[in-house]
Amino acid sequence: MNNKFTKELVDDLASKLLIGLSFEENKMVLDEFAIIDENLSKVENIPNIETIEPMTHTLDDFIFTLREDEATSSIDIKDALRNSDATEGREIEVPIVVGGDN
């Protein structure tokens, strides 16, 4: 087990993700990560593993092309606002950010 992965680090990561963890949830993360760490430790024993190019895209023969820069219609403002719990006029309402208590 990587000894850097501690309860405190788990809480810190969760906080940065804006997630609150209970004691039990924190322990579950540590337990699951211990298994991942153990299994991936074995990967390091594969000869020349560091020379393998990481696979980041699913189809390695896929040709990505940039679309033409064409203007398209945007969504209706009512549609954009309809799933927010707090709106005012044409805008989403939030507490003051600049100079506020953030």
């Binding site: 949830e25 699951e32 298994i35 299994n39 991936l40 696979m55 799933n83």
Partner: protein, 482 residues
């Protein structure tokens, strides 16, 4: 609704039934089964009939997994974080089915955001197996598998990041197909891990899977990973001729001698699989046993978790409760978002996001994320090497029939066997992959899987069609056995 798509189309054409009749039956069945099996988030009671056209799907009801965006219809991802979310647009795949005259009648329960394999983590509760309610359906396309198996309609949409279509299909005794990556646009599908996510379908026979995907597929300007498949017609390409085809299975996964203290269910499952291979050989198919390095197979579950968690951490960062989702409490925006995410995500999601975040940290990337991606390449290359000689890899799905709900823990444990997780290789490589039922163990259905090379979907479906016809489990409807 127990019939195939073609049979229903013919009945509509002859005037034996109307689209209205089919919708009424599907809605009644939806309400009947939901109380017992909990398959649906939403039942669309005001579903309207459509006109019969030459498209085989016209007028026929179907189900949609609740992570596909549906215009003006609740779409939750089975998460409290989006429990009231109503999209203003349809996912491309859904729109294509609507354009064909297909009629959605319900939205099906999934493991929250597709991030589970048990059917137990949706915000509306556990989906139960239609053959035995004490067992799980598997997931994440749990409600779709349950409803198709119970004959609510001939097909339902699923999504598959690790095995989320193909394992529930096996546990429920039906067919589950995910085509080559990018054949179906992912636009409007809630993302989990973008390099692994596939759209697909659950049906009761292989031809129906071909018919539905023929309509769902196609290049889409809104999904840059989609590709042009207009020259592929899956349904018309299926002829059942398989003489001379070559399949292989993996010794390290299928040989009982590799397992210490195998359960009776595992023994029966593997013996059944080997017995079925003998039947398939009589069709003129050559089937070989091949070997894959065990260290690669052993790493598979952790590689999947590392890659999928890392990608999910990024994909779910837009869930703040500000623009959509229930607004959290707090005196500032940060506190509001924290409250929303803490209350909205289940422990499983939180766990995966934290692990993903750690893996992506600069200091950890090489050891965890990049090594996982390297093993992904080694596994994909190993499978592509097999495809130089073989049409497909054929393997049993999981270690037996559906697992008991009271023993379910959707957490990676030390005894997680590569046999349970090998379908993830289909996602690593974007390979076309289909599960079909291949028998019963302990009176519960089990399945086998056929996975082939990218873009070879027609060949894979044709093989699956021939194997399906050589067995007796096609079009089966779930009957509660205990």
């Amino acid at each position: 609704m127990n019939k195939s798509i073609k049979e229903l189309h013919d009945s509509l054409k002859k005037g034996e039934v109307t689209s209205e009749d089919l919708i009424k039956e599907a809605l009644e069945k939806s309400h009947d089964i939901n109380a017992k099996y909990n398959a649906f988030v939403t039942i669309i009671d005001d579903a309207k009939p459509t006109s019969l056209t030459d498209n085989l799907l016209s007028g026929i009801p179907f189900g949609i997994k609740d992570n596909y965006s549906t215009k003006d219809i609740l779409t939750t991802g089975s998460s409290n974080a989006l429990k009231d979310y109503v999209p203003f647009f349809n996912a491309t795949a859904v729109q294509k089915l609507l354009d064909a005259g297909a009629v959605p009648v319900n939205k099906t329960v999934l493991d929250e955001f597709g991030m589970g394999g048990t059917g137990t983590t949706g915000h509306t509760g556990i989906v139960k197996n239609p053959w035995d309610p004490k067992r799980m359906t598997a997931g994440s396309s749990a409600g779709s598998a349950c409803a198709v198996a119970l004959g609510v309609y001939p097909y339902a949409l699923g999504s598959d990041t690790g095995d989320s279509i193909r394992k529930p299909a096996a546990y429920c005794g039906i067919v589950g197909y995910k085509p080559t990556y990018g054949m179906i646009s992912r636009y409007g599908l809630f993302p989990f891990a973008s390099s692994l996510d596939h759209c697909g379908v659950l049906t009761r026979n292989v031809l129906d899977a071909a018919i539905v995907v023929d309509t769902m597929k196609g290049i889409d300007k809104n999904d840059m990973t989609s590709w042009d498949s207009k020259d592929i017609n899956l349904y018309k390409s299926i002829n059942g001729e398989v003489k001379g085809k070559k399949l292989c299975y993996i010794k390290e996964l299928c040989d009982l001698n590799n397992y210490e203290n195998p359960t009776e269910e595992l023994k029966s499952h593997l013996n059944n699989f080997m017995d079925k291979l003998e039947i398939f050989k009589k069709l003129g198919i050559e089937i070989d046993c091949v070997s894959i390095p065990k260290n690669l197979l052993d790493a598979l579950p952790s590689v999947y978790v590392a890659i999928s968690c890392a990608e999910a951490t990024s994909n779910l960062s837009n869930l703040t409760g500000i623009i959509f989702g229930p607004r959290g409490n707090g005196k500032n925006v940060t506190e509001m978002m924290m409250d929303h995410r803490t209350k909205g995500f289940s422990p499983l999601i939180k766990r995966r996001l934290v692990i993903g975040s750690y893996i992506l940290q600069k200091e950890q990337q090489e050891r965890y994320f990049k090594n996982a991606q390297r093993v992904r390449r080694l596994l994909v290359d190993a499978w592509k090497k097999l495809y130089e000689k073989y049409d497909a890899v054929i393997l049993p799905v999981g270690s037996g029939p559906a697992k008991h709900l009271d023993g379910s823990k959707d957490i990676l444990t030390k005894d997680t066997a590569p046999l349970e997780e090998h379908l993830q290789i289909g996602n690593f490589g974007g390979f076309p992959s289909i599960t079909i039922p291949d028998g019963f163990v302990n009176n519960l259905p089990v399945g086998l899987n056929i996975t082939g090379n990218c873009y070879d979907d027609a060949n894979i479906l044709n093989i699956a069609y021939a194997l399906e016809n050589a067995m007796e489990y096609k079009n089966q409807i779930a009957k509660e056995v205990r």
